[in-house]
């Protein structure tokens, strides 16, 4: 393979001519800037990048990227992107979605894209509210949430998006935060390198309808004690002074947070994103409490499995390799297959 030519693209090359129209202060601005800033790193020509979205505030995203893009219909972006990705393995296909789009109306397509391991990078902007329809609770809103459609509090329990993705056996699962540009870009980088479905949950602040939803993990006063920054190969300790750690209690199924002092070093879990069994990453996804204490961010899981696209393309390539006729000759043979008779 020849050395790739450096394209020398910049963030500006990925900005479209459309005026960005999210509410002032929306977390989407930061994500857009981070993505535009990261894209040149991929060294992929703009014409080979496609952003596909559904419906919702986040789904306006493709209009602002100077790549190919489709703003489709509510919940269906993973299905549309699957058809594109499987027929065009030469493209880098990204799906931008939100908590309502991906987990409510489009839940079925999301889990099946992940199950198939379609070569898609799926960015789920989770603000735990319906923004575009002006403030109803979403499938990630906390139980008891008071909104326009739930004046005395919602009665249904939320999804944990990462647990859901891991239940679908997604091969790459990560979480990051809109306001932490460096971390966001590091997760995008890992996602882009992954072959197959990469699922990235991005905590995103809706300053109009659910402001401050993620404050405990953003505010300097609490941030360090609440956030678990996962790093592959490193023992999982966190807190301002590293005073907390994650252990696997003997006899238990999940993981637990303990104080580092008094925990033997060998009992502290060393993060391994490549564990084949999704149960480990699932246990990580269950650590956060309702108050966002013990929220891991980073790459939870990154394992290797053939992508749907590659298997389908291999089947087609193998079938094509077995013929030495022109398509017209093949077609003539196909039409006259089976029992035929001739009338003179």
């Amino acid at each position: 393979m020849s050395e790739p030519v450096a394209l020398k693209l910049t963030a500006k090359d990925f900005k479209s001519d459309q005026e960005v129209r999210w509410c002032p202060g929306c977390g989407d601005y930061a994500i857009l800037a981070a993505v535009q800033g990261f894209m040149p790193e991929l060294n992929i020509p703009r014409e080979n990048v496609v952003f596909i979205s559904g419906i919702g505030c986040s789904s306006r995203f493709p209009y602002y990227m100077n790549t190919y893009g489709m703003h489709s219909i509510h919940g269906r972006a993973p299905a549309i992107a699957t058809g594109l990705s499987v027929t065009r393995p030469d493209l880098s296909v990204w799906v931008v979605t939100g908590d309502g789009d991906a987990l409510s109306i489009g839940g079925n397509h999301l889990i099946h894209a992940l199950r198939r391991n379609v070569n898609l990078k799926i960015l789920l902007f989770n603000n735990r509210i319906y923004g575009l329809t002006k403030g109803q609770y979403s499938p990630t809103s906390e139980i008891g949430k008071i909104t326009k459609s739930t004046p005395v509090g919602s009665a249904d329990a939320p999804f944990n998006p990462l647990s859901l993705a891991l239940g679908a056996e997604a091969t790459f699962v990560a979480r990051t935060i809109d306001s932490d540009r460096k971390h966001l870009q590091s997760v995008l980088r890992a996602a882009a390198e992954h072959q197959g479905s990469a699922f990235v949950e991005i905590y995103q602040n809706c300053n109009i309808f659910n402001d401050g939803a993620f404050d405990p993990i953003k505010e300097p006063a609490t941030r360090d004690d609440f956030l678990i920054r996962l790093e592959h190969g490193q023992p999982i300790t966190f807190g301002k002074d590293g005073q907390f750690c994650v252990v696997h209690p003997p006899g238990g199924f999940g993981l637990e947070v303990r104080e580092t002092a008094g925990t033997p070093a060998e009992e502290i879990v060393v993060h391994d994103a490549t564990v084949t069994d999704p149960a480990y990453a699932f246990a990580l996804s269950r650590l956060p409490g309702l108050d966002l204490r013990n929220t891991p961010i980073g790459v939870f899981r990154s394992v290797t499995r053939s992508s749907y696209d590659s298997v389908v393309q291999e089947q087609v390539a193998a079938a094509k390799a077995s013929v030495d006729q022109t398509p017209e000759q093949q077609l003539a043979g196909l039409l006259s297959a089976g029992d035929t008779w001739t009338i003179l």
């Binding site: 493709p62 190919y68 027929t87 493209l91 397509h109 094509k320 093949q330 297959a337």
Partner: protein, 615 residues
């Protein structure tokens, strides 16, 4: 013993048995033998939705009807001349369709007290006088088959299962069919188990020899070959022909074919067939649901494939929102609806034409699409190519309305020369189309076709965004401008309305008909046969048949207005008639039936005769 040989011009045989008795295969083989002989053929299977209803019960009866003749025929026949009934349930379920004087061949081994009781016979119809008006041939099919295979190394069960080959052998003898293709077929089918090849061939021969020697069958029949256009033929079902048409569309367009589908009766066979053709670059995806199936097809079209989705009515309903998106995106998409009796699950294995309204109007907003319908099994091939042609040329969704009757029925198909098939090559956009020479305008239209450029991802310099939001003319930017929306809605309507489609042709051999019968889709055969019947009796009637339902042929209004009466038979409550009345202000009368069954030529003939009397 010398048997009398009698010449017939046409015969209708119905093979009926339990769904496990292999009646579809038996009918299929008889059809193939008949095709080899050069008769014209039309077939119709009829099977239960249940995979294996309890053995010996009425819901478990499966049948296959074949009509063959020494002239060109249009339908599988109104009523059988011969019924092969493998058990009491098959007899009871089919007897009402049989005209007096018909032959009934029954498998007497199955007429046990228990089997008779299962279907409510208190006495055996073979022993009372309930079959007095018919010519009954009692044959111990099962025990004779088992007896014939006594020396064979097969289990009793396998021996019993070969009874359908005994029946086929007997019928092949009765109608002087060439059987070499059946012997070859058995060798292929049981290639892995030579003992089953030998047993089935022996059962077939035993049935043949039984006909030759028994006195019960004193007459043997011949049906001479039909005069058909020269060329090579094969017998084909609508679903198979439609699949081949889609493969051909891929070859003739040079585009990869992508099928997104979710299994649904009676469309699944198209998914099965296309899944076999990967060497043509055909990619099939069994999606998680109907919505994903059409979504993936649209995504593939966006990337430069010929995107197709196949389904039945309930699936089209689910796909409706995505079809509207395709209307807004102005991308090619072929949606195949193999109609079945609705609403809801309805009768999944029975036929109906009641999705026309949904095809024409079943979307939100003003969302016009092109709609076409095949008229016969073999015509499904050409209809599929035509659907692809319109979709690719005019960058629009096209709904193809097949139905269970044409999908599962079969007829001889004159194989086309590949080079004679339409050239479907398309040009993707490759460069800027703006006046400044650098801007790309994704909604700048071809003045001829009103199609926008198909600029696929991967094309440098043409990066652009499209979506479901209303777009400004030319630039494709989001627009809420009132005048622009009005313009775009009207343009999308004009895009479909101005697609040139061939004029509708009128068949009026006498030239003086005052009544026109207008049909669409699968009613072509029964309407045509009814018109022939009337003409043979000296009555004049004209027939016209619509392939294109949206847009309609330009000459249709003029044609309709040149007759005193227009009659529209449909397997729905008058959906086309409603459109015709509204669009052309013609006082068309409907003839409507929704019994899950195709029209018979006889009932249409009777109805039309009444109409003729009253003009």
């Amino acid at each position: 013993m010398t048997k009398q040989i009698r010449q017939l011009d046409r015969v209708v045989i119905r093979f009926a048995g339990d769904s496990g008795d292999g009646m579809q295969l038996t009918g299929d083989r008889f059809t193939s033998e008949t095709a080899q002989l050069g008769n014209d053929i039309s077939t119709l299977p009829n099977f239960p939705a249940e995979i294996r209803a309890p053995a010996g019960t009425l819901p478990g009866v499966s049948s296959f009807q074949v009509h063959f003749a020494d002239y060109d025929i249009l339908t599988p026949g109104d009523a059988p001349n011969v019924l092969v009934a493998m058990n009491p349930a098959a007899l009871k379920a089919n007897l009402t369709d049989l005209p007096r004087g018909a032959d009934i061949i029954v498998n007497t081994d199955e007429f046990t007290r228990r089997n008779l009781a299962k279907v409510g016979y208190t006495t055996s119809p073979l022993e009372d006088d309930s079959l007095a008006g018919y010519v009954v041939h009692p044959v111990a099919l099962t025990s004779m088959t088992v007896g014939a295979l006594a020396e064979h190394e097969v289990s009793k069960k396998d021996a019993e299962r070969a009874k359908n080959m005994f029946a086929l052998g007997l019928l092949s003898w009765m109608y002087s069919r060439p059987y070499e293709s059946t012997l070859r077929f058995l060798e292929r089918k049981f290639a892995a188990r030579p003992e089953l090849v030998a047993a089935n061939v022996a059962a077939f021969r035993a049935g043949w020899n039984f006909g030759e020697t028994t006195e019960d069958f004193s007459v043997r029949y011949e049906v001479k070959p039909a005069k058909m256009l020269p060329g090579t033929y094969r017998n084909i079902t609508g679903n198979a022909a439609l699949s081949l048409g889609l493969v051909a569309a891929g070859v003739r367009s040079g585009l990869p074919v992508f099928l997104g589908a979710y299994p649904i009766t009676p469309a699944s066979d198209i998914l099965h067939e296309l899944s076999k053709h990967k060497k043509f670059g055909v990619v099939t995806m069994q999606a998680e649901d109907e919505i994903a199936a059409v979504g993936a097809a649209l995504g593939a079209s966006y990337g430069g494939s010929l995107g197709i989705t196949t389904t039945s009515g309930p699936g089209v309903a689910l796909k409706s929102e995505t079809i509207s998106l395709a209307v807004a995106l102005e991308l090619p998409l072929v949606i195949v609806d193999v109609q079945r009796a609705g609403p809801s699950t309805g009768m999944p294995t029975k036929t109906e034409q009641a999705d026309l309204n949904m095809a024409l109007y079943g979307r939100h907003g003003e969302a016009p699409v092109a709609v076409i319908a095949p008229k016969s099994p073999a015509d499904c091939f050409h209809a599929a190519l035509e659907a692809a042609r319109i979709a690719l040329t005019y960058r629009t969704p096209v709904l193809l309305l097949s139905d269970n009757y044409v999908a599962n029925g079969s007829e001889p198909w004159l194989l086309p020369d590949v080079e004679s098939l339409p050239d479907l090559r398309v040009e993707f956009a490759t460069r800027a189309n703006g006046e400044d020479g650098t801007t790309f305008l994704p909604y700048l239209r071809d003045p001829e076709t009103l199609a926008r450029p198909w600029a696929i991802p991967g094309t440098p310099g043409l990066e652009h965004r499209i979506g479901g939001l209303e777009k400004a003319d030319k630039t494709g930017d989001i627009s809420y401008d009132p005048a622009n929306h009005d313009f775009m809605v009207r343009t999308r309507a004009a895009r479909i309305e101005t697609i040139p489609v061939p004029d509708v042709e009128v068949e009026d051999p006498d030239g003086d008909a005052r009544v026109l019968v207008l049909g669409w889709g699968s009613t072509y055969g029964p309407i045509g046969a009814a018109c022939r019947g009337l003409r043979q009796r000296g009555l004049s009637v004209a027939q016209a048949h619509l392939r294109h339902l949206a847009p309609m042929p330009a000459n249709l209004g003029e044609v309709l207005r040149s007759y005193d009466r227009v009659v529209i038979p449909e397997m729905n409550l008058g959906q086309l008639a409603h459109v015709i009345r509204a669009k052309y202000l013609v006082d068309a009368i409907g003839y409507n039936q929704v019994r899950g069954l195709p029209f018979t030529a006889a009932e249409l003939e009777t109805m039309l005769e009444e109409v003729l009397k009253n003009v």
